[in-house]
């Protein structure tokens, strides 16, 4: 048999890619043979092309092959010490109320989660358990909501350890936000692969918060993915807060499928982590649905945060809005890539996208790449992007009223970020993020 050597296979694999293959081969992961087959297929797909690099268009500004020097070993299940040290995780959300679920080093910890008095219509189960027990809901939806091919997602599918499966029954309104707190405790670099599935049935409502944190200076790695099914006429508010430690590498994928008249409000607040990538895939498949996706990143030092969106308008008469803002100090770098695709039958689509970067230093950098692919003829689509410094006229006006320079800058930065944060419906969450921004501004030199 003739041997085929496609260029990519002939390429020498990087240390990280070789380590990932070893980790995958040795890992004991939950799930039956069927799940195992899914994992193997996903890993093959990943291995075919390896870690994404700058010549892969969707990863153009975040060359993971170059930036991810090694692959960390999978985090061991949390012991008593790890659990004890994770007790105060999620402190950012003290007043929000809501039901808190805690994940330590990639594993769900029911003892530290609030599972009491579950309202009717809300079902929560750990992903590891769902995979192990062959949960039918998980089998039906996991990996099937959206046709996405992405190396980070493939890697997640291959190595997914734990996470949560959430089901909200039809016409059930869950008033209290569900807060998923993911904490890494290990000071030595470990890797976690978390996968969650959220199915919100027709007419139901859910507010979901994800919060990620871990120790500073530890070069741990997090690969997280959440799939969300937003049923007909339902509404999901999703806020993801990334406060990872100073040396962490964090790649997250959010996949949302919207049915008719569904509402999806999605917000990404990024303040921590050395390298953060949030990739969001939204498929609007039912008429009259609307998606609002926003983001705020506050970065300093050499932080790098990448927000990459892909919005696919499949059905007509739908609306999508994207507003992404970044505040960049020192040598920080922000990347925004936004793609809006309007399929041939998605007439009357109304899609708008805006990205704005505020540079606080001469060495900060922002890259923005909007893409519109429109195959329907009766649509309204627009995009805009700006990059600039704080307005010196506004700063002078504030100073002329007695506000010291640093406070004047803080007020203007808070206002800049405010457009994103104020769009969140839940008042307590708005307050938490406004305070987080104030904290970031206080620490600014």
């Amino acid at each position: 048999m003739a041997q085929i050597f496609p260029a990519e296979q002939a390429r020498r694999k990087t240390g990280a890619e070789l380590a990932l293959a070893d980790i995958f081969a040795a890992a004991k992961l939950p799930g039956d043979l069927r799940v195992k087959a899914v994992r193997t297929a996903a890993f093959s797909e990943f291995a075919a092309n390896g870690l994404p690099h700058r010549r892969i268009e969707t990863w153009k500004y975040t060359d993971l092959r170059n930036l991810m020097r090694d692959a960390k070993p999978l985090a061991p299940p949390p012991d008593a010490t790890a659990k004890a040290s994770a007790k105060n995780a999620g402190a950012l959300f003290p007043q929000t109320g809501g039901r808190r679920l805690l994940f330590v080093d990639g594993a769900f910890v029911p003892q530290l989660s609030d599972l009491s008095d579950m309202p009717a219509g809300l079902e929560i189960c750990s992903m590891a358990e769902a995979l192990a027990s062959g949960d039918p809901l998980t089998a039906r939806h996991l990996g099937k909501l959206l046709p996405v091919r992405d190396p980070a997602l493939s890697l997640n599918t291959a190595l997914m350890g734990d996470g949560v499966v959430i089901h909200v029954a039809a016409n059930t309104i869950i008033a209290e936000p569900l807060i998923l707190v993911f904490v890494t405790t290990s000071g030595s670099g470990t890797a976690t692969f978390m996968r969650s599935l959220v199915v919100v049935e027709p007419g139901a409502q859910l507010t979901l918060i994800e919060s990620y944190e871990g120790p500073d200076k530890s070069d741990y790695q997090v690969n997280a993915a959440v799939e969300i099914s937003v049923g007909e006429g339902s509404r999901v508010d999703h806020v993801k807060v990334t406060c990872e430690g100073s040396a962490a590498l964090h790649v997250a994928s959010v996949l949302a499928a919207l049915d008719a008249r569904a509402q999806f409000n999605d917000c990404y607040y990024t303040i921590g982590g050395s390298l953060v990538r949030n990739q969001v895939f939204v498929r609007i498949a039912g008429e009259g649905a609307s998606a609002s996706i926003s983001g705020a990143s506050l970065l300093s030092g050499k932080q790098h945060a990448d927000s990459t969106l892909s919005i696919d308008h499949v059905a007509g008469g739908c609306q999508s809005r994207e507003v992404f803002k970044s505040v960049l100090d020192d040598e920080a770098r922000a990347v925004f890539q936004g793609r809006i695709k309007v399929q041939p039958h998605a007439q009357k689509t109304d899609a708008r996208m805006m990205s704005r970067a505020l540079l606080l230093s001469d060495t900060a950098e922002a890259s923005s790449k909007p893409e519109l692919e429109i195959f329907a003829d009766d649509v309204q689509c627009g995009h805009g992007t700006t990059t600039g410094a704080l307005d010196p006229e506004l700063k002078f006006y504030l100073m002329a009223r007695g506000v010291p320079e640093k406070d004047a800058e803080a007020l203007l930065i808070q206002a800049f970020i405010g457009e994103v944060v104020d769009g969140i419906d839940h008042e307590n969450i708005r307050d938490v993020l406004t305070e987080a921004t104030a904290g970031w501004l206080r620490e600014r030199k």
Partner: protein
């Protein structure tokens, strides 16, 4: 007695071009001075130099405020020391609530002076009182600073800030521009309310009209970066009749 404001032989340039060419002026507490002059005389430059705007470079002379060298202070320090510039074109600050702005400004000044901060309820009460006095719609206070305000509303908002902050020296830069006669009267009432034996004012204007409502003690004519004539309030009327042509010739 030390003068409230003493400007001696002030020279300043903007983008390398000299605008103020040896301006001398003294304002005592209790006095209202009007500065009039043709376009390009340096009226707005003077106001920005006094407020410390970046890009307005002082190349000579000095400015003493209560005997203290004002030019060595940053804009916020000048404000805390008791100076206030009412802008010709007040800026819109999207995303900053008017009340947050007022509270931040007020308490930053008080903090710098070593005074206790004003509580939010006290501040809101005071702002509402002043707003009523100026005939402002209370909804304006709920909007971001000056955003969507008409020209008249912006000038009222400036007057409100001035009345709230109670400065010792008020510099009003072309407060009358963009105002209809009713708004002009209201703003002038606010300014007149502020007149006191402890306070000095500089009213910069191109037209005499404003001075019908804010009657000055002293009128200066500024031309080509210098005070070319000083007189009483009747000088403004004379200028209204004769125009600035003679001073332009004089300066040239």
């Amino acid at each position: 007695m030390t003068a409230l404001l003493e400007i001696r032989d002030l020279q300043a340039e903007v983008a390398g071009k000299q605008i103020l060419k040896g301006l001398t002026l003294t304002v005592n507490a209790g006095e209202v001075h009007a500065i009039m002059g043709p376009n390009g005389a340096g009226k707005s430059t003077l106001s920005y130099v006094l407020a410390g705007k970046p890009g307005y470079e002082v190349t000579g002379g000095e400015v003493l405020f209560n005997g203290v060298d004002m030019l060595s202070l940053s804009p916020d320090e000048r404000a805390a020391a008791g100076t206030f510039l009412a802008f010709q074109y007040p800026l819109e600050i999207p995303g900053v609530a008017t009340m947050t702005f007022l509270r931040t400004a007020m308490n930053a000044q008080r903090k710098k002076r070593g005074e206790p901060e004003l509580s939010s309820p006290d501040l809101i009460k005071r702002v509402r009182e002043i707003g009523d006095q100026l005939g402002m719609n209370p909804d304006m206070l709920k909007r971001p600073v000056n955003v969507g305000f008409s020209g008249g509303e912006k000038k009222r908002a400036e007057t409100l800030q001035m009345m709230l902050l109670e400065p010792k020296l008020c510099v009003l830069d072309e407060t009358d521009s963009g105002l209809d006669i009713d708004a002009l009267k209201i703003v002038a009432n606010g300014v007149n309310y502020m007149r006191s034996p402890e306070r000095g004012m500089i009213v910069i204007t191109h037209y005499q009209r404003l001075l019908d409502y804010i009657v000055p003690d002293v009128v200066h004519v500024l031309s080509a970066g210098k005070v070319v004539r000083t007189g009483g309030k009747e000088l403004a009327l004379e200028l209204e009749a004769t125009g600035y042509a003679q001073y332009l010739n004089e300066a040239a």
